[in-house]
């Protein structure tokens, strides 16, 4: 089964991970811009990061036969640094026009501060101006309220809900998201957020409409094979193939295709791998050439 992981921070992963993902059937990924585990304090760090998402990481993925797309945005944690936030917001229009940028994100709430809400709202406006969907990060702490506030903000700004993916849901937030017209993402982590069996139980209860799953696979304890592992558990629990296929392929493709920058026929075809290629004189090969 072909798999689309709609949220995975490949910057933090090794080439072994790329090989294992490709072997498990993952053919396309979206890497959202987020924070890197500790705060960046200069706008130049964001320039380098965004360039890496659009260039080097896309190239690295291609060397393993995986198509790599990204979302660009200022994450809520770093939105709390006012000088930095203004400078990063000023950068965004240039990046949001680039090929391969399939949404504005991750945006949303972390501590649910006023500064976070201001940056969140400004980026919803940017998404409208650049005709892009948005990817919303929901907070770890006070998640239910953060989810409700996020949907209320989208609604108050009259941003089309069908172009919004609300991520990192759990048993209590999923029904709230499904009551709106937004899409619902689930991050399958080894210890926190959501696991494979709980996810399968949610699919049995709520079906597959507007539901997607991802691995997030970042610099913390995480696993880039969580989407294929969730497929295995869903099969064991008797969920039919059409439902699974919708959750791990058709739904994420349909959501990000709204950007107009996801070549649906293109990602259906198997990419060619040519490891003699270079990116800015760098190759994933070491001494093997």
């Amino acid at each position: 089964m072909k798999i689309f992981d709609p949220h995975v921070h490949m910057t933090s992963r090794t080439t072994d991970d790329y090989e294992a993902m490709a072997a498990a059937g993952i053919v396309a990924v979206v890497e959202p811009a987020f924070w890197l585990g500790q705060p960046r304090t200069f706008v130049g760090s964001f320039v380098d990061y965004f360039n890496s998402l659009l260039g080097w990481e896309r190239f690295r993925a291609s060397q393993f036969g995986i198509r790599h797309f990204c979302t660009i945005g200022l994450n809520p944690k770093e939105a709390n640094n006012p000088k930095l936030a203004d400078e990063v917001l000023a950068l965004l229009p240039r990046y949001l026009d680039k090929d391969g940028v399939v949404a504005v994100g991750e945006i949303g709430f972390d501590d649910q501060t006023d500064a976070e809400e201001v940056c969140f709202a400004k980026q919803i406006e940017l998404a409208r101006a650049h005709n892009l969907p948005i990817l919303i990060h929901t907070p770890h702490r006070d998640k239910k309220r953060g989810t409700i506030r996020s949907i209320e903000l989208v609604r108050s700004m009259k941003f089309p809900e069908e172009r919004v993916l609300v991520d990192h849901n759990n048993e209590e937030t999923l029904p709230i998201v499904l009551e709106s017209a937004c899409w619902a993402g689930h991050t399958i982590y080894p210890n926190t957020k959501m696991d494979e069996h709980r996810m399968a139980a949610l699919v049995k209860k709520y079906g597959s409409d507007r539901i997607v799953v991802n691995s997030a696979a970042d610099w913390g304890i995480s696993d880039p094979l969580k989407v294929p592992k969730t497929i295995t558990v869903m099969r064991q629990l008797g969920i039919d193939e059409d439902t699974i296929q919708k959750i791990v392929w058709s739904n994420p493709v349909a959501f990000f295709a709204q950007s107009g920058r996801l070549d649906v026929a293109g990602i259906d075809a198997s990419p060619e791998i040519d490891r003699k290629q270079q990116y800015a004189t760098n190759s994933v090969l070491r001494g093997e050439r």
């Binding site: 585990g37 500790q38 640094n81 972390d110 702490r141 006070d142 309220r145 048993e171 209590e172």
Partner: protein
């Protein structure tokens, strides 16, 4: 004061922990507040504990919203709430609701609720 904040900005993790533990003893707490709140956003647990635990600064100076977030983060990270200096005097209705929501979320996920969660609540819901 600039020398004090530079010590923090350019410190390694252990130096930053020492600095954060000393904040309650430094003059002009208003000048330090933004740094201490920002330090609470860390994913480095010992750094978070340097702010949240056995330190009177948060209870004395944090606005309610930031104080509440710190308490929730302690629960998330299995940091004993009894270590938060001045928690009893800063409990409030919003923190009580946040703690109750967290307990409900844990139960829905089939997980244990921390036994000391009541220390964050003004009353049992």
């Amino acid at each position: 004061m600039r020398a004090a904040t530079e010590c923090y900005d350019q410190g390694d993790s252990a130096e930053q922990q020492s600095w954060l533990k000393s904040t309650a003893l430094l003059p002009e707490p208003d000048q330090l507040l933004a740094i201490v709140i920002d330090a609470c956003r860390t994913n480095i647990l010992p750094l978070f504990e340097a702010v949240a635990c056995e330190n009177p600064f948060p209870a004395r100076h944090f606005p309610e919203r930031n104080f509440n977030q710190m308490v929730l983060k302690a629960l998330f990270n299995k940091v004993a709430l009894s270590r938060i200096t001045g928690l009893a005097g800063r409990r409030n209705a919003d923190l009580t609701r946040m703690a109750a929501d967290y307990a409900s979320e844990r139960r829905a996920a089939g997980r244990m609720v921390p036994s000391d969660i009541r220390l964050a609540m003004t009353e049992t819901p």
